[in-house]
Symmetry: C2
Subunit: 133 residues, 2 copies
């Protein structure tokens, strides 16, 4: 049975939980996972984490639009993207982009391009929670 070619998700689920539901593939030799991790400093000041919020209908639509455009440009990949919302503690991942391709070079290019487009256009807002807040 053909597996779905893409999954997108925006919400409070931790990345590890989302990732645990992803399936392996014996048709894709390259499986690349980018985790965007919350750092413990924001402009030099220590933070506890980042509070993410999204205008969901627009963010979901924009994320799906990115995936459809990418699959049209590069049909031979599978992708799973999860962007967390709510509070994400420093050291945890707020974004996961997983790309599977037959060969490795494409995986690096495609994953990096997803990251670029997501950062550029998906409306997710971040509010650092400083240690002294």
């Amino acid at each position: 049975m053909e597996k779905p070619q893409f999954i997108t998700s925006i919400g409070e689920m931790p990345d590890a939980e989302f990732e645990a539901g992803l399936e392996p593939s014996s048709r894709h030799g390259a499986d690349l996972r980018f985790h965007g991790v919350v750092r413990d400093l924001e402009e030099g000041r220590p933070i506890l984490g980042i509070d993410y919020s999204a205008y969901r209908p627009m963010a979901d639509r924009e994320l799906e639009a990115i995936v459809h455009a990418m699959l049209a440009e590069q049909p031979e990949h599978r992708v799973a993207i999860h962007h967390r919302t709510g509070f994400v503690a420093a050291g945890e991942a707020s974004l996961l982009i997983r790309v599977q391709t037959a060969h490795s070079a494409a995986a690096f290019e495609i994953c990096r391009e997803y990251l670029r487009r997501i950062k550029a256009t998906v409306p997710v807002w971040k509010r650092p929670v400083f240690v002294e807040d």
Copy 2:
């Protein structure tokens, strides 16, 4: 306490087990993991998996030499690499390269360069196990 900047491993441990022992970091905003997965076809013929073997002293030394060279060229990253030996079934990963950097662009470049160098110089041999074997 400072975490080790690199870990290299060659052996029969499954990738998932090796990966479970890796630590998160709140100083690195980018955590990129490349899994090299065994595909179910080899030159168009179905395979059950690949049997990997390594001349360990030389492979260990070569892998460490790659890491030392990369850390000299790009000091600001952490890396963990595991290459499996023995039989790896189709759909499972035989190689994991995890790179952590402060920012994302470097993670993609460094991870891809590790992959290129490992493929080029680490002496690991592969024998496909065909379905009809």
